[in-house]
């Protein structure tokens, strides 16, 4: 479809004039790709299986009657389908991916290879434990790295992502409270917190009280102190916080919390800024989840899977969920039920089936062994250095709400866009045309039109310099009033801006055969 067909003024077209359509609808190496269901047909499959008939005897009369409706495609078509789809994605491997708080760092392929060793990838979670001692040893070794790096005595390995880790941590706290015969209901969460924090607190049965942020991007420690009381179960802070700042008064806040009989849960999503230099255990933290898919680079995979182990203080360790990993002279052993608990342990329950994200554990340990303690420290320093380099280089052009130095991410607001009519969103979409993935936008909520830039340690100085130059160029364009370049962006991506309102107003969440959708009407 040509632009004109959409009736937008051609004045805008001139910014990035769109060429006329091709006959095929494809454009050079950029192919459009229909849905599987539009491509498939009966009488073909991408597998060859020995034809097999079955008797009804064992099926309890519940054999499926109708067809499922899955499309049939050959392997060549399938391969092409997904290769074409993949080419519509941006990725770390193709460019800088400054998504603040998400830590899009390099994903080493060695780690993928290791996770696929049959000795790890082809193990059943319930096969006899003596046939999986190497796997249990790997988990134990990873636990040693995590507890050593954090300076915490224990770690719960089963949580499947950061939010799941938060839940694990809060349930541990809840159990510890209960063991004290207390049932505190409130959790103090800063306004700058990631959405999963309040969501998790609610899920864990707590009420959330918001702690205000100070003008300097730090949590208002005095306000927090004032909010503490006998009904506060925990404070839930992120450190370094979501403004990319290290909470200066964190140890005081921890102390106050403990004095008030509350626990200190720390969101460790930003541990990558301080790993190897600072031990959360030295900060008075009682529980902290670690996103192995951030700090320890297990691939984000377009949204997962991740892993969110939770390190615990001595006070909370006894309440960690099942399963527990023990070692004795006979080797490693998983405690999977309350029946044979070691003395002093009172697990609050179970987070999920089996023992956690083994595939991610292998990758994370491969990352740790490759970096070593020295490399992990260096990576944190380089991440912080890169973020400060961007902050220093761009604060004259964009607007930085807070004083530096920052940690691993540089936060800007949209003040520099005042009067240009360009929004943070527009600016981000214009970055797409320039070959960059946008930074995290409108988060944290404590600044207006937030732009949270996390370059990570994986970018070279040359790459950072190019990025800085482009950001400056875009900012000048915006200030020069080249509005269309932003308002209509992106022009050069596989799709122009998508109508999200329409998607939400009348949700179409699946393909349906014409007949069916007709019926629907």
């Amino acid at each position: 479809m040509t632009m004109n067909a959409t009736g937008r003024p051609t004045a805008i077209e001139t910014v990035f004039a769109q060429p006329q359509p091709t006959i095929s609808g494809d454009r050079g190496l950029d192919h459009e790709e229909p849905l599987l269901f539009e491509l498939g047909r009966a009488g073909v499959a991408g597998v060859d299986l020995p034809p097999t008939e079955v008797s009804e005897a064992r099926l309890a009369g519940l054999r499926r009657q109708g067809a499922i409706g899955l499309p049939g495609l050959s392997e060549p078509e399938i391969v092409r389908h997904y290769v074409r789809l993949s080419r519509m994605n941006y990725a770390i491997d193709s460019g800088l991916y400054p998504l603040g708080s998400c830590t899009m760092k390099h994903n080493p392929r060695l780690n993928e290879k290791m996770a696929r060793l049959p000795g790890f990838g082809d193990l059943h979670p319930l096969q006899p434990q003596q046939t999986a001692q190497g796997a249990l040893a790997l988990i134990a070794e990873l636990m040693r790295w995590l507890t050593t790096l954090t300076g915490m005595p224990a770690v719960a390995m089963s949580p499947k992502a950061g939010a799941h880790g938060e839940l694990c941590g809060l349930l541990t706290i809840r159990a510890a409270m209960a063991a004290r015969g207390e049932n505190r209901k409130r959790i103090l969460v800063p306004s700058s917190a990631h959405g999963t924090n309040p969501a998790t607190a609610a899920l864990a049965g707590f009420t959330v009280d918001e702690v205000p942020a100070k003008g300097d991007g730090h949590v208002d420690a005095d306000a927090l102190k004032a909010m503490l009381g006998p009904d506060v179960a925990a404070i839930m802070l992120t450190n370094p916080n979501t403004c990319g700042l290290f909470e200066r008064r964190i140890r005081e806040m921890a102390e106050w919390a403990h004095q008030a009989g509350a626990y200190f849960y720390c969101d460790g999503a930003n541990f990558n800024a301080i790993a190897g230099r600072v031990r959360p255990g030295d900060l008075g933290i009682d529980a902290m989840h670690i996103n192995l898919h951030k700090t320890f680079s297990t691939p984000h995979g377009g949204g997962g899977p991740g892993a969110g182990p939770v390190v615990l203080s001595a006070a909370l360790a006894p309440f960690a969920p099942l399963p527990l990993l023990m070692q004795d002279d006979k080797g490693f052993r998983l405690i999977e039920s309350r029946e044979d608990l070691p003395a002093g342990t009172q697990p609050f329950g179970r987070m999920c089936a089996f023992h956690g994200q083994m595939g991610m554990f292998v990758r994370a340990l491969a990352y740790m062994l490759s970096h070593g303690a020295d490399g992990i420290r260096q990576a944190s320093e380089d991440a912080v250095l890169a973020a400060n380099y961007i902050l220093a280089s761009l604060k004259g052009t964009l607007s930085a709400p807070f004083e530096g130095p920052c940690m691993h991410e540089a936060l800007f607001d949209d003040a520099f866009l005042a009067g240009t009519g360009v929004t943070t969103l527009d600016f981000a979409k214009a970055m797409i045309d320039e070959g960059y993935h946008p930074m995290t936008m409108y988060f944290p909520l404590v600044v207006h039109g937030a732009m949270l830039i996390e370059p990570t340690e994986s970018e070279s100085k040359e790459s950072l310099d190019r990025f800085i130059a482009v950001m400056r160029g875009l900012a000048e364009e915006a200030k020069a009033g080249n509005h269309a370049r932003f308002a209509e962006a992106p022009y050069l991506a596989p799709r122009r801006r998508l109508d999200e309102t329409r998607a939400a107003r009348k949700p179409i969440l699946r393909w349906t055969p014409q007949v069916l959708s007709e019926a629907a009407k």
Partner: protein, 448 residues
């Protein structure tokens, strides 16, 4: 360090540009007392690929890989053959190293496959809509119960005794916070009367079929009983391949389906990562947990896909969100959807038939061992045997003979005397008849 592009010169130049004397200056907000040096960590320094590969390969070699021996374990995780193209395609950089598709214009690849995934899951389960995955089958089950509690504004969840014990414990842990969870008494492989447990406080009944013992459950009567009391039926499936041969939960009255998708496209991985499938009826979508991809158009009028209904989610709704989930099982969804696309209708139903046929043949072989009896009259690709003695030591003895001979029910239900002698045995398309013979011989030995 091979992963770090900055040279010492770069670091110096960058500090200069920042105006910081040294790196420590950037960490000045860290309380002095909390600053530690390299020596604080008794951990090794960096190593090369060769060394790391050796260290991990050594650990891997201490495990018995399922594919290297006759293998019969199931009980929630199943070994299937995954076509080579699946693992090749999911490793495409553009899939592997991208984030949750927040920027749809440059994430159509991810969004389209998730949309296709949602459609496949809806078709398999016989439901109207599905989400873009949860962590695994167990957390999907727990989320389903929470959703039922929200929808019905009722506290109580009734769990069938055939529900995988790990699923039950996970659900208890979470759902007990906001309500009450009742587990039906264990009756291995015989029908249980759940109707009695359903009352006007009941939000949902949770039934797994095939259940943890492999028994195929008829959901229809339970659905009726539940619906009669205004409760919802949550159907749980741990072996999705069964949906290629058995009636779908949707067709038998389920309101919500929570399933483990590992069997399709995903390896055993010692328990994770797996992929939680979650499907329900259209009218419930605004209470669904997890990401949803929807169809829309771009400003040029071309079809495109976006994350939608995010007002349900934590990043918008915060403490009012339907779930706290953020990262889900993205890449496992991709493996699932590619494998299922390769199978198609023919392949998927054919695969299901093969699985059942192999299991039936195996059950016949083992059932004929003196003292061994089949306790599950019906099953898909997994069944339960009663042994003349406790199953756990037998399984260890089999392992010593190089056979991974299934899962002793006592591993999942150590407190249930009932379970002590029960052995849960699975067969898939990867199980050969030689495997079965070896199993029969070894088991006979171990029992005599």
């Amino acid at each position: 360090m091979r992963y770090l592009p900055l040279t010492q010169n770069d670091r110096g130049a960058m500090l200069g540009a920042i105006g910081a004397p040294d790196i420590d200056a950037l960490f000045r907000d860290v309380p002095r007392a909390a600053v530690v040096g390299r020596e604080a960590f008794s951990l090794p320094d960096h190593q090369g690929e060769l060394e790391v590969e050796r260290a991990l390969a050594r650990l891997a070699s201490k495990n018995i890989a399922a594919g290297s021996v006759p293998f019969f374990c199931g009980a929630g995780a199943y070994r299937h053959h995954v076509p080579a193209s699946v693992d090749h395609l999911i490793q495409r950089s553009e899939f592997l190293t991208s984030y949750t598709p927040y920027q749809p214009e440059i994430a159509q690849g991810t969004l389209q496959y998730l949309y296709e995934f949602q459609t496949q899951v809806a078709l398999l389960t016989g439901m109207e809509v599905a989400n873009a995955s949860l962590y695994d089958g167990s957390t999907a089950t727990a989320e389903a119960v929470l959703m039922a509690q929200r929808l019905t504004r009722r506290p109580k969840a009734v769990l069938s005794s055939g529900l995988h014990p790990h699923y039950a414990e996970t659900t208890e842990t979470l759902a007990a916070l906001s309500g009450e969870v009742v587990r039906a008494p264990l009756r291995p492989a015989s029908a249980e009367d759940l109707a009695d447990l359903i009352d006007s406080e009941t939000a949902c009944v949770v039934v797994q079929s095939p259940d943890v013992f492999g028994l195929i459950r008829d959901l229809r009567p339970i659905a009726e009983a539940a619906h009669a009391k205004g409760a919802l039926l949550i159907a749980v499936v741990t072996e999705v391949v069964s949906l290629g041969l058995l009636e779908s939960p949707g067709a038998t009255g389920a309101d919500i389906v929570a399933a483990e998708g590992q069997s399709i496209g995903n390896g055993l991985n010692f328990g994770g990562p797996y992929v939680g499938l979650f499907a329900t009826r259209e009218r419930f979508i605004r209470q669904m947990p997890g990401r949803l991809v929807g169809e829309t158009v771009d400003t040029d009028g071309r079809r495109g896909f976006v994350l939608t209904l995010s007002t349900r989610e934590q990043h918008i709704r915060r403490e009012k969100a339907t779930s706290n989930i953020c990262t889900n099982s993205g890449l496992c969804c991709l493996a699932f959807t590619i494998h299922l696309a390769l199978l198609g209708e023919e392949g998927f139903t054919g695969l299901a038939r093969i699985n059942h046929a192999r299991a039936a043949a195996l059950a016949g072989k083992l059932n004929s061992i003196p003292g061994v009896s089949l306790v599950t009259p019906s099953f898909f690709n997994e069944f339960t045997l009663r042994l003349p003695k406790p199953a756990a030591p037998v399984v260890d003895a089999l392992a010593a003979r190089g056979i991974l001979g299934g899962v002793p029910a006592s591993r999942l239900l150590p407190h249930e005397a009932e379970a002590r002698d029960l052995l849960i045995v699975a067969a898939t398309e990867t199980t050969t008849s030689e495997d079965g013979d070896a199993f029969r011989a070894a088991l006979t030995e171990c029992l005599s």
